[in-house]
């Protein structure tokens, strides 16, 4: 069963967002739709003029194409076609750090619990796990490391600037 987590490992209850598939071509009538990038680009009267919607990027898509719009969306999704496809980590940092995006950034598709720590460091704050084991204690995965060397979305100061 799917689990939607925040970046402390708590379950997000009553989540309103629905991911609209890439091949969707009808009119969007519901609020809180996460629209595929191409749909949003192709739809001249973009539905988020009237409805609160979000957008999602596949791992090979470029946030650059909608850079000036990024902060209009309350939720942005990044899709992981397989958990070995690490492009989403870079896209998240891009959206958070370069565009200063402050809304919800969601990882979905094939991600595994052991990636949660890195995903959260890159700026994701919601995570849709497709089929986590019942025994899984999500909090565990966010607390793996108290020491981080690099500058990243969660902590711009690298350890060498914080070392005491």
């Amino acid at each position: 069963m799917q689990k939607l987590l925040d970046n402390t490992g708590q379950i997000i209850e009553n989540d309103p967002w629905v991911i609209v598939p890439k091949d969707f071509d009808g009119p969007v009538t519901k609020a809180h739709s996460l629209l595929p990038l191409q749909y949003w680009l192709d739809t001249p009267s973009n539905p988020d003029q009237e409805l609160p919607t979000g957008i999602w990027f596949d791992s090979n898509e470029e946030p650059e194409t909608v850079a000036e719009h990024i902060n209009r969306w309350a939720c942005i999704g990044i899709h992981f076609p397989t958990f070995m496809d690490g492009r989403g980590f870079t896209l998240a940092r891009f959206i958070r750090e370069r565009y200063g995006y402050a809304g919800q950034l969601r990882a979905f598709g094939h991600i595994i619990p052991d990636q949660l720590f890195f995903l959260s460091r890159c700026g994701f704050d919601s995570f849709l796990l497709e089929s986590p084991s019942d025994e899984m204690d999500p909090e565990l995965y966010f607390d793996n490391f108290s020491v981080i060397y690099q500058s990243c979305a969660d902590q711009p100061q690298p350890l060498f600037r914080r070392r005491a």
């Binding site: 958990f83 070995m84 496809d85 690490g86 492009r87 980590f89 870079t90 896209l91 940092r93 370069r98 595994i112 052991d114 990636q115 720590f117 890195f118 995903l119 460091r121 890159c122 084991s133 025994e135 899984m136 565990l140 793996n144 490391f145 108290s146 020491v147 981080i148 060397y149 690099q150 500058s151 990243c152 711009p156 100061q157 690298p158 350890l159 060498f160 600037r161 070392r163």
Partner: protein
């Protein structure tokens, strides 16, 4: 050597705890094979032909005697009493039990060692020059920079799932002993006209299926920008490197497809956003890193008593003189030298050491070289700070432990991957080929007459044995279940790296020694004063070798 502080130690402890949980979760059936795969790989654990294999990082090749003793203990306790030094300055255990790997990692953490990112599609161990800090042609000691890059790359959250593995090498000398031209990123420390330290940055070098010599994309990168620039390169690669075909996924393919000029522009554009940001190195951090790699307590020249220099006594036997000629290197400090312990005696797989030998290396390091050694990518060990007056004593002890084969730089000082005897990727065995060559060419007078020549053997085109950059390269190939060996000539991993050319049709294993003998004879017939093998080969090309070897068949 770098000494861990509480941050570094805590991170290792947390990593061990994490892997213990991951392993337990896998063994309990909560993690699938596919999901456990990258987790174990990023802790150095492969599943091999016969058993798991654990690859332990030796950052930039540096080991202390305490670490050597711990490695000896681990091979005794958890393995079959021997280990293997690899072609990337690492060490591998061939027979660990999966269940015990978390315990092994915990033991390693006690001596500030780990296996983090020693395999998998991530940034691997940083490699460097085995003569760092001691050679007179050095611009600057590369090790502080290696350590800075090690920390930056360790658990880098953005780059743990790259298209493919990623290797960085750093050299601080004009003579490139770190093969920086055949790494994904090669960094060469240079000074600009103002005397400031910086890096010449090469990208897209590599061996494997598609061997490529790296291209310079930045002639001078000021040192403080090292990490932001590396972030930019990795980011461009992570986004645009191919993921559809693992044989086309290395950065070299992207650089070739775009051209180095376009790649460099893309990196520069990316770098502009991070340049001068918080990831910019501070002078304090650079000074901190350098503080760990100060010169050991060398005796001043005046304190040497020339009469005590027993290495120049006329009573010393010829074998010692030979060993001194081949296995000892000059040092920038008068009265000191660097000494190779050869791990290439006949009959032992190149790079293999027993637990007793690991203990012995630790003892030699303590007695003769300030308690430290360096592992070379040619799979030998270097004692970098030995008093010349100690050479004779060192030689006797090294001989007793099997380390004094006087063959460094000669034909039998081969680079050789584990091959089909151990590795599940291999197409052919490589160790038996190496052994046959060692037995054929065991006449030292002949080897000395041939002089410097590198012979590199890989058991498959993944090229762990660096066959493309051997003066003579041997590549194991599989044709319909039969093992064959392709021979290449003209490769070099040195300062002006070159890739070898294929000689012609492949040979059976039992033909390889004869073919190598003919190649060497062709060199002897054509050489002119003082030419090394590679010089003659470059001058005369492939044709004379082909004629000699394939003449009869034609």
């Amino acid at each position: 050597m770098y000494i861990y502080d509480h941050y570094d130690k805590t991170l290792l402890e947390e990593r061990v705890a994490q892997f213990r949980r991951q392993t337990e979760s896998y063994l309990a059936g909560h993690l699938s094979d596919d999901e456990f795969l990258p987790l174990r790989l990023q802790n150095g654990l492969y599943i091999q032909r016969l058993a798991p294999m654990l690859r332990i990082n030796i950052p930039y090749g540096m080991l202390s005697s305490a670490q050597l003793r711990k490695l000896a203990h681990i091979t005794r306790t958890y393995d079959k009493g021997y280990a293997h030094f690899t072609t990337r300055q690492n060490i591998q255990l061939n027979w660990p039990q999966l269940e015990e790997v978390p315990d092994i990692l915990a033991e390693l953490a006690e001596v500030e060692m780990h296996a983090i990112q020693s395999s998998g599609s991530c940034i691997r161990n940083i490699t460097s020059d085995e003569f760092a800090g001691m050679s007179s042609d050095e611009t600057e000691d590369p090790r502080p920079w290696c350590e800075i890059v090690r920390q930056w790359s360790t658990l880098h959250p953005e780059f743990a799932f790259l298209p493919r593995k990623f290797k960085i090498a750093i050299t601080g000398s004009e003579t490139d002993r770190a093969a920086t031209q055949v790494h994904d990123i090669g960094l060469q420390i240079i000074k600009n006209d103002a005397g400031e330290t910086g890096f010449r940055v090469l990208v897209g070098g590599g061996l494997g299926r598609t061997p490529v010599i790296g291209t310079v994309i930045k002639e001078f990168l000021p040192a403080i920008h090292l990490l932001t620039y590396l972030d930019a390169i990795l980011r461009v690669y992570n986004r645009y490197g191919r993921r559809d075909n693992k044989y086309k996924a290395r950065i070299k393919i992207l650089v070739k497809a775009w051209t180095p000029e376009v790649f460099a522009k893309k990196v520069d554009a990316e770098w502009l956003h991070a340049k001068d940001g918080p990831a910019t190195l501070t002078l304090e951090e650079i000074a901190r890193a350098k503080s760990f790699f100060t010169a050991p307590d060398y005796l001043s020249q005046e304190s040497f008593n020339p009469n005590s220099d027993n290495s120049i006594s006329s009573e010393l036997p010829v074998p010692f003189m030979r060993w001194r000629d081949r296995n000892v290197r000059p040092h920038k400090i008068p009265g000191y030298c660097g000494v190779f312990l050869s791990l290439k005696p006949t009959g032992v797989a190149p790079g293999d050491v027993t637990e007793r030998q690991l203990e012995a290396i630790a003892n030699l390091a303590d007695r003769f070289s300030f308690g430290e050694v360096r592992v070379t990518h040619q799979q030998n060990v270097v004692l970098a700070d030995v008093k010349t007056s100690d050479l004779a004593d060192l030689w006797r002890e090294a001989k007793d432990m099997g380390f004094a084969t006087p063959n460094i730089g000669t034909l039998t000082d081969m680079i050789c991957c584990p091959g089909g005897d151990f590795c599940s990727l291999a197409n052919a065995k490589s160790i038996p080929v190496a052994e046959a060559l060692q037995r054929r060419f065991d006449d030292m007078d002949y080897l000395y007459d041939i002089g410097d020549v590198s012979l590199n053997i890989s058991g498959c085109m993944n090229a762990c044995g660096h066959h493309h950059v051997g003066n003579i390269g041997v590549l194991g190939v599989d044709k319909k279940g039969q093992e064959f060996y392709q021979i290449q000539l003209g490769g070099s991993a040195g300062t002006n790296a070159t890739l070898g050319n294929v000689l012609g049709p492949s040979f059976f294993a039992n033909e390889v020694s004869d073919v190598i003998e003919k190649i060497l004879q062709t060199y002897v017939d054509h050489r002119i004063d003082g030419e090394q093998f590679i010089d003659t080969q470059r001058r005369i090309g492939m044709a004379p070798f082909k004629e000699c070897i394939y003449a009869k068949a034609a």
